[in-house]
Amino acid sequence: MKYFHLVWAALFRRRTRTFLTLVSIIAAFLLFGLLDTVRVAFNPGDSVAGAGRLVITSRVSMMESLPQSLGERIRQVDGVSKVAGAGWFGGFYQDARNQIPSFAVSPEYLDAYPEIELPAQQHEDWRNNRVGLIVGESLANRFEWQIGDRIPLQSAIWPSRASGDNTWTFEVSGIMRGVGKQAAGYSNMVMLHWKYFEENNEFGTDGVHWYVAQVGDPDRADEIAGRIDELSANSSHETRTQTEQAFQASFIRQLVNIGLIVTAIMGAVFFTLLLLAGNTMMQAVRERTSELAVLKTLGFTDFSVLSMVLAESVLLVLLGGLVGLGLVALIVPALAAASGGMLPFGGVGPQTWATAVVLMLLFGLAVGLVPAVQAMRLNMVDALRSGQ
């Protein structure tokens, strides 16, 4: 540490070069941060928020409906504490491009989701209002909806009996907010009454698209899932029960294999970065041959010369990397806000930071290794003689 000022001075010996290299490294880690944030946002697998929730859909596909009577039978399965049903509403507001994740849910639905924050009074008001609608906070801000507003939503799937076309009119009863990163998506959803959905649906709907069951003991989830599926075995509406995490993960794997694409891009980015920074370090050491020889003459050991060159390259990558990630931390919330909450980004997670710092250290070492070894092996006499 006592040589820090030496390392620092060496790093900024050629300001332009260091600055240019830094920008390259910043760009690389900016990209890394953004892509990793996307990866984390699309990988809900490691959240604990949904622990103990099972999702029950039809075995045919999740668009197929299940009978209403099934809910009561699931409730009686040993170990299940709460059950709620939901249906796809397929809503959009004003323009088909403003698609809104919208579910028709049974009154108990929100009880199974403690990560959704909704004032008790508003929850109560919603329960008592047949055409009540709970809207996510981001949506309410985006479209300037307030409690008590009557808003028309279009359903992509279901015509409304009241209006004769696909326009359904609701009254905003409550504004909900997802707490925590994994639940950020709820701030961008709306929920309506399943009862109203069924009554006002011109096609009539004979069932529920999925059930959510809360189990008391998450360790028994697999066993209980098996028993729920047994309820409808060999009937015309067999079910498939999965934990919520497995359900979401499978959906996202179908959407796109983000992991593969991200890994490929990151590979290309870091390869380029390594090349650039490595080249800079080589140049820096080559230029300073005589200076390093002087250091050695003054009594610096081979090892301290090695570590000083390594420290310099690690410092270079760390500086660039931290600035790059800092930019990501600024950009991501802006991006999430600009998308009106469509992108479920909640900021740069500790996991991303940790991975990035480990990568920075590794790259710093890898980049500095060859020049550092060169510097260590430097023969004082030769270096001083050839240095001008």
């Binding site: 240019l20 390259s24 596909s61 999740m62 668009m63 696909n166 290309a268 390869f271 080249n279």
Partner: protein, 434 residues
């Protein structure tokens, strides 16, 4: 002060040049190249520039490391850009490729896609009798009622995959002349038999002819494989009434596909149906429908691709700047000697920029080639609506050309500032420098 103004002028010029460059078509670029070649051979300054460039390129071998950094850095940018754009192009070709102007798709009013639409007997009747509907040799109207059901199958990796099961009338084949049975035989009416799109058959387990697969409550036998070259390749087809009864759809259909007597018959056909107050239908040509279906997803992929490549390009530009500044510094004495001998600034500027652009071009070619080798035809899948669509990355000349244009733009920016510095080197100082 003068220096500052000059630098600002340089930046402004650069921005304008890049803006023009982005818009420039292939012929424009060729004209530029010819112009440059003419200048290099015909004028005195040009010949000087060519000479200095040759000397500069001769020293590239000695600066192999940093020259490689430029080439490989730019190859990385172009490779990623081309691959991501190829993904968008492939998806678009698959989703939008199946449409034609002389086939119409009828959905319920307000339904965004086939899977969300329901039509009853009244609509089927009205559509069949509408003007402009083509008839086959037996006099039957070319109207196929189609029932769409999303069903889960298993991918070869063991994951769930939601795919579209399409129940069709036997006219479906005549309305879609592009669909061809390539293996096995067609399904028989009333039997639980499937013909499977080629991509679905390759990608998912248990969908080869001779296999049988559980879809919902019942088992279905796979009897054939068809190929269409568009989104249908990811679907399973079966007899309409069999699908409707297996999945409790009654007499309704999701959509009606109609073969028209010609593209010019569409307007009359559409007007007749939409003016009928008893009907609530949406009439589109299949070309319109498929183009609209692919629009959103393709735009997202394109924007992401360009954003990622732009950030990478910034990194590569600074890498190139770094290397070229180093090259200029290494050649300071040589350049000063040339200046002392009477060479003007312009040939020096041009030669350094040419050198960078040549390295950039090499990088661009390498990147585009890598993207082509690694990704052309690479098969991927995504969800379109609620069902998977399998598509191939499509790296074509247009995309590779876009990548190479990016490479040259990076080379232009990365070469310009070092070149200007080289021209501004005070001759006496540089000559004295050791």
């Amino acid at each position: 002060m003068k220096r500052l103004l000059a630098n600002m002028g340089l930046m402004a010029g650069l921005v304008v040049a890049l803006a023009i460059w982005v818009q420039l078509p292939l012929t424009g670029v060729l004209a530029l190249v010819l112009l440059l070649a003419g200048w290099l051979t015909a004028t005195r300054a040009g010949r000087q520039a060519a000479l200095v460039t040759r000397v500069g390129l001769g020293t590239v071998g000695r600066r192999l490391g940093s020259s490689l950094v430029i080439v490989l850095g730019i190859a990385g940018v172009v490779g990623v850009l081309t691959a991501l754009l190829a993904m968008g192009a492939g998806l678009q070709a698959t989703l939008a490729g199946g449409g034609s102007d002389d086939a119409a798709l009828i959905l319920r009013g307000g339904a965004p896609a086939e899977a969300q639409s329901v039509l009853g007997q009244d609509e089927i009747q009205a559509v069949t009798q509408a003007p402009g509907v083509a008839h086959d040799n037996d006099g039957r109207p070319l109207v196929s009622g189609e029932v769409i059901v999303a069903v889960n199958v298993t991918s070869r990796d063991g994951d769930d995959a939601s795919v579209q099961l399409r129940g069709v009338d036997d006219t479906a084949w005549a309305v879609r002349p592009g669909v061809e049975l390539i293996e096995g035989r067609p399904f028989r009416t009333g039997m639980q038999e499937l013909v499977v799109g080629r991509r679905a058959s390759d990608r998912y387990a248990g969908l080869k002819p001779g296999d049988s697969v559980q879809l919902g409550p019942e088992r279905w036998d796979v009897v054939g494989v068809f190929e269409s070259g568009d989104g249908h390749d990811s679907e399973l087809w079966a007899d309409r009434n069999t699908v409707a009864s297996a999945f409790r759809r009654g007499n309704s259909v999701s959509a009606l596909l109609v073969g028209l007597t010609g593209a010019d018959a569409f307007d009359g056909f559409k007007a007749a149906l939409e003016s009928n107050p008893q009907l609530n239908v949406r009439v589109q040509t299949t070309a319109e429908y498929f183009a609209a279906q692919s629009e959103g997803l393709v735009t997202v992929i394109r924007v992401v691709g360009i954003a990622v490549a732009a950030i990478m390009a910034i990194g590569a530009i600074f890498g190139a700047l770094n290397c070229m500044f180093a090259a200029v510094a290494a050649r300071a004495r040589e350049i000063a000697t040339l200046r002392a001998m009477g060479f003007r600034g312009l040939p020096v500027v041009v030669s350094i920029m040419l050198e960078t652009m040549i390295l950039a071009l090499a990088g661009g070619l390498l990147g585009a080639l890598l993207a082509w080798v690694l990704f052309n035809g690479h098969s991927a899948s995504t969800l379109a609506g609620m069902s998977q669509v399998v598509f191939s990355f499509k790296v074509d000349f247009g995309l590779m050309w876009t990548g190479i244009k990016w490479a040259l733009a990076i080379g232009l920016v990365g070469g310009l500032f070092p070149a200007v510095r080289a021209a501004r080197l005070p001759v006496t100082v540089a000559l004295r420098e050791t």
